[in-house]
Symmetry: C2
C-alpha cells in the first residue's frame, strides 16, 4: 500500500505527541490484549480533556457537558470486506475513515464532539510489529498504523478517544461511538424541511466513489501523482464539524444530514423524514474533480452535509472555508406518491425532468471488491 | 436449543408490547437492512422516553440528562465464538447477555441507565424467519429472538434502545453502548480503595462459569430441571443497577467495579488502580450453588459488584434484595511487590495464606468451546 497517498494529517506532521488517552471499558482480560492496551495507553500524554473526567481504566468513561446542552450519540460499524479491504486500504486510512464516519454524524446534528469510543476486533497477527508485508511501515504493526490514522483525525478535531473495547477476532470489526453536545433544542434534524426551502450541499460530490473506482483499477500498482491526489477524498474524507456548528449556532438550516450513502439515497431519506419531495437542478451539482455525474448523484461516503434552509435566507458561498452549493428546492410531496414508500425526488436537467431513484451506495457488495475476500 | 431454560424475563410474560423504539444512526443503506429496520421499528410502541428527545431515524440520537449530572459511557463487544456460540446459546440469551454486559458497567459506576445503542452485524440467514433449524422458535428469525432477549432486559431495567447500527457480516458481532448518568463527582471509581477498607461482593460467585461448564457438558442434550436452573446465571445474568445506585447515592463505597472477568483478575485491577493490595478470607466467599471454589475465584461473567467501604461502615446484609458478603480487606501494597506489575492479592484459608494470582477469564479461548468454531 505504500504507493498510495499518505494521510494528509499525518503527512503534515503531528504537532505534538498523540494527546488522547486511550481507555478501554470492560473487557481487557487477555494477556495479549493487556499488553496491547498498555502499548496504546503508553501513547497517551497529558492533555486538558475538559469534557472527560474519567477516561482511563474504569468501567465507564465519565463525561461532562455544559449547562443547557443535550447529548448526541451515534454508533457506526466499519467492517472488513464491507467498508474496507486490508489489501487495498492503508491502515491509516481505515482508522481515519472509521472516526470520520462518526464525526460526520455529529456534524449533521450541529453537535460539538465531546468524546469518541472505539470497539475494535482484530486478528492477532495485525497487532504484531513487522508481521505481514502489507501492514509493515517503519516496523509498525497494522493496529499501530490504524491508530495513527484515527488519532491524527481525533487530534485535528480535538476529540479525545475516551474508551472502548478491544478483542481478537478473525476479521477486523470497528465500531466507533461519538458523543457530542448541542444546545438544548438546537440539534439539526432530518425532519424539518418544508416546501419552498432551498437545498444545499457542502463541498463536492462523488469524490469518494471516484477514488474508490481508481483504487479498484490500481490493484496495488503505484498510482501517478494525479491519481494519488484523486484517492484522498475516498481514503481521508473530512467531516464537516465546523460547518455543522456554524449552521446550528445560527439556526440557519431547517433540516440537515450527512451524505454517507449518496445524494439520491440520503435526500430521499430526508424527504421521507420531513414528509416532502425535492427537485434537484443538475447543472448546479458540485461534481468532484474526476467524478462522473452518476457518482455525484449516487456515490456514497462523501461525508458532506446536505441541508435545507428557507429560500429567502442568504447563505455565504463558503462556510468555514468549504464551498456551499444551492442545488435545488423542497416541494410538496405529490399526491400521486402517497402510496409510494419513498417520496419522489426529481432531477431537472437539459434533457427534462426525470425521477431520481435512490440507488443506494452498496459499499463493496455491488462492486468487484468482494471477489477477493 | 429448545431444551434450555427460557429467558426468565420473557417466561414471566412481557407486561406490554416492547416499548422501546429501535433507531439506527448512520448506515442503513441496503434494502435488506431497511426492511429489517422497518421490522424492528414496527415493534416499537409509544413510551414516555424522558431521556430520549430524538431516537428514530436521524443521524444521532439526542439525549437529555438532569442538571448536576455527568454522563457515563461504556462499550462492550460480544463476539461469536468468543463470548457465545450460535449452537450453544439461545438467541434470547445472547441478546440478554449483550445488554447485561453494558448495564453491569453502569451499575459499577453507580450510574442510572439513560439509553442503550446496539451495533449489530449478522449473517443474512439469521434475519430470515424459519431458516436454520437452530434459530427457529415459533417461526421467528434468530435476530428477532435476539431482540426478544435484549429488549426484555431493556424493559426490565427501563432503558430505551435509542439507536445503533446494523450490517450484514459472516459472523455475529454485537457492540453494546450504554449511556448513563451519575451525580457530578459521585460516580464510583476503581481507584478509591484505601488500606483498611473492607471488601464486599453482591450475590454469588462462580455461577456463570458453572453454568458454562454445564452447557459445555450438555452438547445439545436436554438438561434435567435441576441442571436447567443452574444454567440461568450464565445465560441470563442480572446486572446490579439498583445496588450500584444504592451505594452511589449514599456515598457508601470507596471503590467499585463489576465482576466480568473473575474475582482474581478484577480485584487485581481494582488494587492496581487504587495502588493497594488485598486479602480475601476464603470461608466468607459466597460460592454460587453448583460452582467450585476455583470457579468462584476465577470464573468470569458473574456481573456482580465488587466494592470497598470503610471497615467501620455498617452495610445491610442485602441491598435491593441481593445479598452482600464481606469477603476481605484492603491492605497496603507490600514493598516487596513494588517491582511487580500487579499488586499481590492474598487468599487466606484453613491451609494458610497463598497468593491469589489473576488467572483471567478467557471466555472461549481456553476451553474446548472453540474447537467447533
Amino acid at each position: 500500500m505504500d504507493p498510495l497517498p499518505d494521510c494528509p494529517i499525518l503527512a503534515g506532521g503531528l504537532r505534538c505527541p498523540i494527546l488522547v488517552p486511550v481507555a478501554v471499558c470492560g473487557r481487557d482480560s487477555e494477556k495479549g490484549e493487556l499488553a496491547l492496551l498498555r502499548g496504546i495507553r503508553a501513547r497517551a500524554a497529558a492533555q486538558a480533556l475538559s469534557g472527560v473526567r474519567v477516561g482511563i481504566g474504569d468501567d465507564c468513561a465519565v463525561l461532562g457537558v455544559r449547562a443547557g446542552e443535550e447529548i448526541a450519540v451515534t454508533t457506526d460499524l466499519s467492517l472488513e470486506g464491507r467498508h474496507f479491504r486490508l489489501d487495498w486500504h492503508p491502515p491509516e486510512a481505515i482508522g481515519h475513515r472509521t472516526l470520520a464516519r462518526g464525526l460526520s454524524d455529529l456534524a449533521a446534528m450541529g453537535a460539538r464532539p465531546v468524546a469518541a469510543f472505539l470497539s475494535l476486533a482484530v486478528p492477532p497477527e495485525l497487532t504484531r510489529a513487522g508481521r505481514g508485508s502489507k501492514s509493515r511501515r517503519g516496523g509498525k504493526s497494522w493496529i499501530d498504523r490504524f491508530y495513527d490514522g484515527l488519532l491524527a483525525l481525533a487530534e485535528a478535531y480535538n476529540v479525545p478517544l475516551a474508551g472502548g473495547d478491544l478483542a481478537e477476532f478473525p476479521q477486523v470489526v470497528a465500531d466507533i461511538v461519538l458523543v457530542g453536545a448541542a444546545r438544548r433544542g438546537k440539534a439539526m434534524l432530518r425532519s424539518g424541511a418544508r416546501a419552498g426551502d432551498a437545498i444545499y450541499v457542502t463541498g463536492a460530490l462523488g469524490g469518494s466513489a471516484a477514488g474508490l473506482r481508481a483504487l479498484q483499477a490500481l490493484k496495488g500498482k503505484k498510482p501517478s501523482a494525479r491519481l494519488a491526489a484523486g484517492l484522498a477524498p475516498h481514503l481521508y474524507p473530512q467531516p464537516r464539524i465546523a460547518q455543522g456548528l456554524w449552521l446550528a449556532r445560527r439556526g440557519a438550516a431547517t433540516a440537515a444530514m450527512d451524505l454517507s450513502d449518496g445524494l439520491s439515497m440520503d435526500l430521499a431519506r430526508l424527504c421521507e423524514e420531513s414528509g416532502v419531495g425535492a427537485e434537484i437542478d443538475e447543472p448546479t451539482l458540485p461534481v468532484a474533480p474526476g467524478a462522473t455525474l452518476e457518482e455525484a448523484l449516487h456515490g456514497g461516503e462523501d461525508y458532506e452535509l446536505l441541508f435545507t434552509a428557507p429560500a429567502e435566507k442568504k447563505l455565504p458561498r463558503r462556510i468555514a472555508g468549504v464551498p456551499v452549493a444551492r442545488i435545488g428546492r423542497i416541494v410538496r410531496r405529490g399526491s400521486e406518491n402517497k402510496q409510494a414508500r419513498r417520496p419522489r425526488v426529481i432531477l431537472l436537467s437539459a434533457a427534462g425532468a426525470t425521477a431520481l431513484e435512490p440507488e443506494g451506495w452498496q459499499h463493496f457488495r455491488s462492486g468487484g471488491l468482494q471477489a477477493g475476500q
